[in-house]
Symmetry: D2
Subunit: 326 residues, 4 copies
């Protein structure tokens, strides 16, 4: 038995709701452009409950192609988790993240901080045109055909994700939904797909979970400044781990333990993620400081989630199969 399994059973046992889990269907009508505890809860849920909901695209356009909110990244929520208090951790398990309309849009120029200044200076065509992609769920692809592009047709597999998963930040801040941080937010991680567990700290009673900014697909780094921005059908369940303070958002997949550090400059994002991953290995997987350092030196993996948001996001992770048996 792998250690993480034991952890989940023990950790979630404490949080098991007395009542049986409910499924909530929630169609959002109001959207938010800040992560903030000042926004009234849109829905109250209990640990173990499941939410079936929708998100609109980063520009505020919904599943019917109707503009219903201002960009960037208007959020669905906040969802109030009963019993969540500062110092706890919530676990959001995404069962479904699926485009619910036929088009997405993207940028077409590499973003200012993704390329050399000399490349910006040498650019012949500086107009930031918005590109419209088609989503073909039957074939599992997104494609575009445009005379503005060479080659004129591009076709890529769908890999739907949420750019934004966050909670109300600490200390009464109201943070723009373009920003990622310790509270989660606009991390723009291409591998935040259906099937993952996302762990976030609780800073305010009820945690106040927000989601949004769905991408039918996104390259790592989000170097064109957007993913394939579209509206989504989303289903998730949410759990609570009491008295479990974490410094940065974590994820767990079938194969990996993952930490998402956000900061600017890019190196500090990496430093946050690396430091937090070491803490995690020490706290939950039986490592000493030196043991974790020795292991991570030969086993750590890194990904760059985004270099286009006000803070950048770097992912540090380890393959669970490489963890020593205990």
């Amino acid at each position: 038995m792998r250690p993480f399994t034991a952890f989940w059973i023990l950790a979630l046992a404490a949080a098991l709701p007395a009542a049986s889990p409910e499924t909530h269907r929630f169609i959002p009508e109001r959207f938010y452009n800040t992560y903030s505890a000042a926004h009234p809860p849109a829905l109250r849920v209990k640990p173990g409950d499941r939410v079936v909901t929708k998100t609109i695209d980063a520009a505020g356009v919904d599943w019917d192609g109707k503009p219903v909110a201002n960009g960037p990244n208007p959020q669905t929520g906040p969802f109030y988790l009963e019993g969540a208090e500062p110092g706890d951790m919530i676990v959001v398990t995404f069962d479904k993240i699926e485009p619910n309309r036929a088009t997405a849009y993207s940028g077409s120029l590499l973003a200012p901080y993704a390329v050399d200044p000399a490349t910006i200076n040498a650019r012949v065509d500086r107009e930031p045109k918005r590109m419209i992609w088609n989503i073909d769920k039957a074939r599992g692809i997104a494609w575009i055909e445009s005379p503005d592009l060479k080659p004129s047709r591009l076709e890529l597999p769908l890999r739907p994700m949420l750019g934004c998963v966050g909670v109300a930040p600490a200390r009464k801040e109201a943070i723009l939904t373009s920003v990622p941080g310790a509270f989660g937010g606009n991390m723009d991680y291409a591998w935040l797909n259906a099937g993952v567990k996302v762990m976030l700290p609780v800073n305010e009673p009820g945690a106040l979970l927000f989601i949004g900014d769905g991408h039918a697909r996104q390259g790592e780094g989000e170097v064109a400044g957007t993913g394939l921005e579209t509206s989504m059908d989303v289903e998730f369940s949410v759990d609570l781990v009491k008295k479990k303070a974490i410094g940065w958002p974590r994820m767990e997949t079938e194969t990996h333990l993952i930490v998402l550090g956000s900061a600017r400059p890019l190196l500090e994002a990496l430093q946050h993620a690396t430091s937090e991953l070491q803490q995690w290995l020490i706290a939950d997987y039986g490592f000493s400081e030196r043991g974790a350092g020795t292991f991570m030196g030969q086993a750590a993996e890194y990904e760059i989630a985004n270099v286009v948001d006000p803070s950048f996001t770097v992912v540090a992770k380890v393959r669970k199969a490489l963890l020593p048996r205990r």
Copy 2:
């Protein structure tokens, strides 16, 4: 037929040597601690030739456990490629990178720039102990057992690589072999394994290829400051593409086109890699500037090779299967 295949056939055709390729067996006796055109060629080879050679470890210890050079990263070479002139590109194809002794060493503390300053400040045990690993080629693993570690035993699959592959830099610089750059060098990329093609610019007549710093395995980022440092048996062939100027080292594998940008800060390494990858797509794969931007925004992948050398290395890459058909 995929475009890269066409490219290689055309590109290398021009460079086909008149004479048939030779295989050189070269046991190095002298090692270098700078990349520099001032060092005399150790061996002259022709395009298409194959070299069977050895590298010593980063501390200067050879396959017999004998210290034979000063660290860090004493290099085997330089290999002089006949016909190579500034403005050309060399292509080094590695057929074998294999540990040739039974031990490797590694660091055990996370490196100064890999963690938060607060983590450094809070560290209880600051002594930089060197760890000795065992290499078990039969089982395909490296393992360590040490009372200094918790858990006391770690075991990881072998994944041999070269930390250093470089040529003489431009403008008569002599650059320490701890440094990566446009000339290649100490990029410490965990996926520079047997099977890859490495492309480097030619800055001096004969290119002057150096290799060294073998790791039996390394985590991404090289965050403990070392891989599993050991000596290697190396076999490679080298080709020449005339009048092909490239800005940064490139690699091609079965699946990916890869660029390695090096700089400090980390973001500039990413900017170099991204800009160069865009240039490559434009020059060789039929993209316009906007086409490449749109494609890379949804298809680029990134890796962090190292954050411990004097310059850091970031890898930008695209999966060849996603390139549009032509």
Copy 3:
């Protein structure tokens, strides 16, 4: 006549209040830890009015040594300026910034991002002791005597300043008062002393001016993490320039035009300040883009305000005496 004089006469003429300026005496009783338009105005003033008020220290301790608010940097205000609307600029002229108690406190360790990681690692004494300084206004000095220090006595001239001068940020953000930005805030600029004019953008009706975080003195960079933190008597008048959009806080002194850019990494703070200074020279001093570039290359001066806050602040400035005559 120097050009800036003409500018002020013209600019402020438009803003001259119909009624004669008032002097408001305002003793704050409530303090804020975020810059936010959600806080109710503490006082309404008209352009040209003068405000005589007080600030408490960064830890929330007032002029009587009484803790009255939570740190860090609890703010006096917000002051609502009648007629100020988004797109305008306010001009705050400080006539008095003067310590109003006999002690100040400071940090004693160089801050995490102000020194090399190796220096942190090598530190023998890591305890962050708070030092208590004495303020001797008669002699114009602050001094400390402590067995924790070697030499045990330090004595430095007073140079009172405000670490924080800010307005409500744009887009409904609530930003911690530890943070500097385009809205001003915790810039920690050692030369924001009595006598200066501070110009800030207006993002919300009434601008909502906050002040706080007085230092009896501070080194540049604020590298020990604090100035000599104390409470202050402050007197300022505030003016309004209609339809004058600025990108970053500006200051004008008798000798200099000054821009304060804030960001992380440090270089981006410099880039903001440099870009904005160039814009200022173009908009108000008759320079072309190339003229400003040529001039700034040989005349720009820089200061580092802080490298300890969540964003760092860099100051770009030019000596007014060097501006070409017009």
Copy 4:
């Protein structure tokens, strides 16, 4: 008596040459584009000797307007200091730095890393024109009149300086003369004027001192990529302090102790300078670690020397009048 005076008397006493100091007149005919111990000494001098020499401009043009070397920054030297060995420190006192021709050239666009990417992207005129300035030593000014500029005439006081003062680097590196570092080099510090003492580490026997890259004037940051580049008459004397290891170049003026840290990113340059200044205060001025931290927090000053070279340079300094009496 101020402590630094005592220091100099003691420190230099040990180094007093047996023979009386000589004055050498040296007109350079060969110039170097790397800092390297591989270059043959141009002149051998003894501690205490004085050198009267010349430098050519950054593009290789001499006092007669004749191109005599390749750019960038061809160096006069190297001067071999008898008795200097690795682990010593040399002290170069500049008595004269004076333009010796009637013109200088400068850039006219703000450099790529000195402005926001958005400013680069929005630039209307991207052509990097070289501007020619006139040097009027009688009036003490440099001036330019050009239809390319608005205003068409600029006039600034002369403030002659050397952009480059360096020694052969450690470990057999050959470093481009565009680069600053621990060995000195292209620091481009606007206040390296006649009258200053520059202290550099000795890495190779004889130290091998190089000078060059004179500017008739330069703004801080060197944000247009150049100063007013011209040839210079230079007079200096050189002393030796035995067994005095320093980490970074230092300067002493009548008023300040100064450290010049160079690195990329900008913050690391500041970290080097701050850490080294603390070491200096501890080693030579009687401070403990915490004493130096407390003092520097309220007394440190910073300048940005350059943000345009391959490494950037930040200056940390303290006013000698603020040092505690001993």
